[in-house]
Amino acid sequence: MTLRQTPSQTVGPYFAYGLSPEQYGYDFASIAGGDMAPAEVEGQRIRVEGRVFDGAGAVVPDALVEIWQADAQGRYAHPSDPRGSNASFKGFGRFGTGTDKQNRFIFDTVKPGAIDAGQAPHLNVVLTMRGMLLHAFTRIYFADEASNATDPVLHLVPEDRRHTLIAQPIGGNVYRFDIQMQGAHETVFFDV
């Protein structure tokens, strides 16, 4: 049996009070925000921040970025990962670019471990915004991981575009990852 999948539609400009209400100051509980790792979660604390740029180079102030990641031991909090994860680490973050003065998305989390012997540590990203009729998938890798050199997903990407998937350390455990929708350094998006 095959049913047709429901088409995607844009998240629009007014998602904040539905999807990230606490971040934007609305009186409704959020299921997730940018603070992904409660104090008791093991692992190296990192911040991942960046901005989203449109095809004219303008900063996008109404994008929604979602992160899905493994814990510091490389385990996902999901029934399909039989290893189980760090008990209080959910692995999901969500941040809109409308509250920071520089329109950054900001995730405070733990650095993920490698999920297996092949893949380098990475964050999985869903990006959506007004003007996108369907969300886009990308990944965030870390510049200081030697295993990037052998990561099978990075190897699917032409060498001259790989840098668009790699967050750069900017000091103090902070990594910068900007997303370019278009242009010479257009971020690689995946068909998952």
Binding site: S8, L19, L133, L134
Partner: protein
């Protein structure tokens, strides 16, 4: 062995670049997407279900009340969440948000000159039951003007966000109402291929109508289902 998810039905999806919707030209990827074979990163995803639905989350006519009832026509929205393999998806979270009955969003960026309703927030969430059925109560949202082109109006709609069982099954969409005269004029609705457009329109149904209280609409949502053949773990 772990299961993977069927491919996105690209032929049934709107294109990133849909120029009649004027925000798309600068916000759509221009390079071809790179095919990513599903691994543990894609077949897992955030697990949200009934545990995050509390209080009046599933009743938008109550969860924003301050000093009375919100204005507008009360409606029940219900339906099933399924994989495209036809299997219902139990305990799956749906997040919804919408304009009020006058077509005004609570959002600070919405400057439409229509009244806010002090008793209506316009966001809520609910989860599917063991048969994949969800249900929430709200008021029918109003249409509203937007700046896409001269005299542009969005049809009445409710926004939906779902994860489903994995990151690969993520869906953000909108539900429209049957018979809305703005549908054939709306570039967002029309960006969807004709073959699948009507999947975005709810059906009025007496079965879901609560006699004497609220009209019922049915809206089924189909996410990517599981492949019959598992991948190597």
């Amino acid at each position: 062995m772990t299961e993977t998810y069927r491919a996105r039905d690209w032929a049934g999806q709107p294109a990133y670049l849909s120029p009649d919707y004027k925000s798309t030209p600068l916000r759509s990827p221009t390079r071809p997407l790179i095919a990513l074979p599903q691994s543990l990163s894609e077949i897992t995803g955030p697990v949200f279900g009934a545990e995050v639905v509390t209080g009046d989350d599933a009743d938008l006519t109550r969860n924003g009340r301050r000093n009375g009832e919100p204005l507008g026509e009360r409606i029940v929205v219900t339906g099933r969440v399924l994989g495209d393999d036809g299997k219902p998806l139990p305990n799956t979270l749906l997040e919804v948000w919408q304009a009020n009955a006058c077509g005004r969003y609570v959002h600070k960026a919405d400057q439409h000159d229509a009244p806010l309703d002090p008793n209506f927030l316009g966001s809520g969430r609910c989860a599917t039951d063991s048969n994949g059925v969800y249900k929430f109560m709200t008021v029918k949202p109003g249409a509203y003007p937007w700046g896409n082109h001269h005299n542009a109006w969005r049809p009445q709609h409710i926004h939906f966000s779902l994860f489903g069982p994995s990151f690969a099954t993520r869906l953000v969409t909108q539900m429209y109402f049957p018979g809305d005269p703005l549908l054939p004029l709306d570039p967002i609705f029309l960006a969807t291929p004709a073959a699948t457009r009507n999947l975005l329109i709810a059906a009025f149904t007496l079965d879901a109508t609560e006699p004497g209280y609220a009209l019922g609409y049915r809206f089924d949502i189909v996410l990517r289902g599981r492949n019959a053949t598992p991948m190597e773990a």
